[in-house]
């Protein structure tokens, strides 16, 4: 199977799953944004998704995408370290055109993974999981209040968003380069689109997290 046996195939798996995860994050932040207009609308979305069959199928596909992306990331990194050899350069200079993020994707990914673990405990484990187990789930607004009522939630989330921003600014154009859709003109265009996409999606996530923190700590009442 060329998707696992060849270097380009393995990168294609990283690329396709990565683009799928970017698409998921975009929907995620848009659904969260509904809460900015009123928590009753947010509740409606939570109810619409819940543990209905389509939400479960979506979650399963999403989890599969995550797992593949993570397994392939470690596999590729292991192979790349082996290819680099045991002797390191005494002196190494990074060319100006090389993005910092591109050389630290695994570390950024691990930070995102830790953040995701906390995020799943705070929300998924209290909302969809109990419903699957046949228990009574917590309402979306209650879960938000509990999580963002803690002072430490916001800084951790902001660190997670920053790591995701760096991860996506490289990952976005790199994914299109890997599936062979880039050329000299489109590399610049994909880099530009990726930068804006990451900035808008992560900026919106950050605004939402800040709003929830202020709201549930009774600093603002709107």
């Amino acid at each position: 199977m060329w998707l696992t046996n060849s270097s380009v195939g393995r990168k294609v798996v990283m690329s396709v799953t990565g683009l799928f995860l970017i698409l998921f994050l975009t929907f995620h932040t848009l659904m969260n944004a509904v809460a900015l207009f009123g928590f009753k609308y947010y509740e409606a979305i939570c109810e619409f998704l819940g543990a209905n069959w389509y939400a479960l199928v979506g979650t399963a596909i999403l989890a599969g995408g995550f797992v593949l992306h993570i397994i392939f990331a470690f596999w590729l990194t292991f192979q790349n370290r082996k290819a680099r050899g045991n002797d390191r350069y005494e002196e190494s200079a990074k060319p100006a055109s090389v993005e910092w993020a591109s050389q630290n994707m695994l570390v950024l990914g691990i930070i995102v993974l830790c953040f995701m673990g906390l995020h799943l405990c705070q929300f998924w484990a209290k909302m969809q999981l109990p419903e699957i187990m046949g228990e009574h789930p917590q309402s979306g607004t209650d879960a938000l209040a509990l999580a963002f009522g803690n002072w430490w939630t916001l800084p951790i989330y902001l660190v997670g968003f920053c790591a995701l921003w760096f991860h996506i600014t490289h990952g976005f154009w790199s994914a299109f380069q890997t599936i062979g859709t880039a050329n000299e003109k489109w590399i610049c265009r994909f880099k530009c689109i990726g930068w804006w996409w990451a900035t808008i999606v992560m900026g919106l996530f950050a605004i939402e997290a800040i709003y929830f923190t202020l709201h549930f700590n009774n600093i603002i009442n709107c």
């Binding site: 680099r84 599936i179 062979g180 880039a182 000299e184």
Partner: protein, 251 residues
């Protein structure tokens, strides 16, 4: 600008492929700034021979930037601090008086050290042998108008063909990937009508050989293109991916 500089040179010394390597520091006095880097190493080697020591082994041949033999990692850059130039095209005016210049061999599992600064780049020859050619008889040169090729494609194929196979891309890559080299060799044919009949077989064979030889997976950091002495473009890698994916999907 000074006409002559004195500096320390820190060189990787390794007696053989299995031996433990180490750095040795040599002092160089009053080297004219018009001296090329390789001439400076020649001067150092003469001094070492006069002292009864082993001269430093390093690869070199044409000394005019076309053969791809020279391969030194100088002050953290393959082929040194100059852009678009090989080690043999590097001059001592790039360095300063009193500086310590670090010189290392290419470091990659697929390019084992033979001795000192000399590495075995036979892996590139093996990749070329796997498919980097046109196997049929193309006959005599026909009239140029009989086979129209757009100027854009002709220029891009020529740019890709300027790869000299020195291995700087592998040396610069944190993943030890040879994708820029392979992509240039695939592109120079893929862009031209003569290369099309064997395009699918070529890309599959060359990529399979590249993977077999233990080169890493490309993560698009772009260090290869930034350090390439022939300024081979990163877009070649996307073309290689496209050619490979299309060939595999067609199977």
């Amino acid at each position: 600008m000074e006409n002559a500089i004195s500096f320390n040179i820190k060189v990787w010394r390794q007696a053989g492929p299995k031996e433990q390597g180490r750095f040795e520091v040599y002092q160089m006095q009053d080297i004219p700034t018009d001296t090329s880097f390789l001439e400076m190493l020649d001067i150092l080697n003469e001094q070492l021979i006069e002292q009864g020591k082993e001269p430093i082994a390093f690869d070199h041949d044409c000394r005019e930037g076309i053969c791809g033999m020279c391969s030194l990692y100088i002050n953290g850059h393959p082929h040194g601090p100059a852009t678009g130039a090989t080690t043999c095209q590097l001059y001592m005016r790039r360095f300063h008086d009193g500086e310590t210049i670090t010189v290392e061999p290419w470091r990659s599992a697929a390019f084992p050290v033979i001795r000192d600064l000399m590495v075995n780049r036979n892996a590139f020859d093996q990749i070329q042998q796997a498919g980097g050619y046109v196997s049929f008889n193309t006959g005599g040169a026909q009239d140029a108008n009989a086979l129209p090729i757009s100027k854009v494609d002709a220029d891009e194929a020529m740019d890709s063909a300027s790869c000299i196979g020195c291995g700087a891309c592998v040396a610069a890559c944190k993943n030890g990937s040879a994708m820029l080299f392979v992509s240039a060799k695939v592109s120079q044919f893929a862009l031209l009508p003569q290369g099309k009949p064997e395009a699918a077989r070529r890309v599959k064979a060359m990529l399979q050989k590249m993977d077999e030889l233990g080169f890493g997976n490309c993560t698009n950091t772009g260090a290869c293109a930034a350090e390439c002495p022939k300024q081979i473009k990163l877009s070649n890698i996307s073309r290689l991916n496209r050619e490979y994916i299309c060939a595999k999907l067609a199977d």
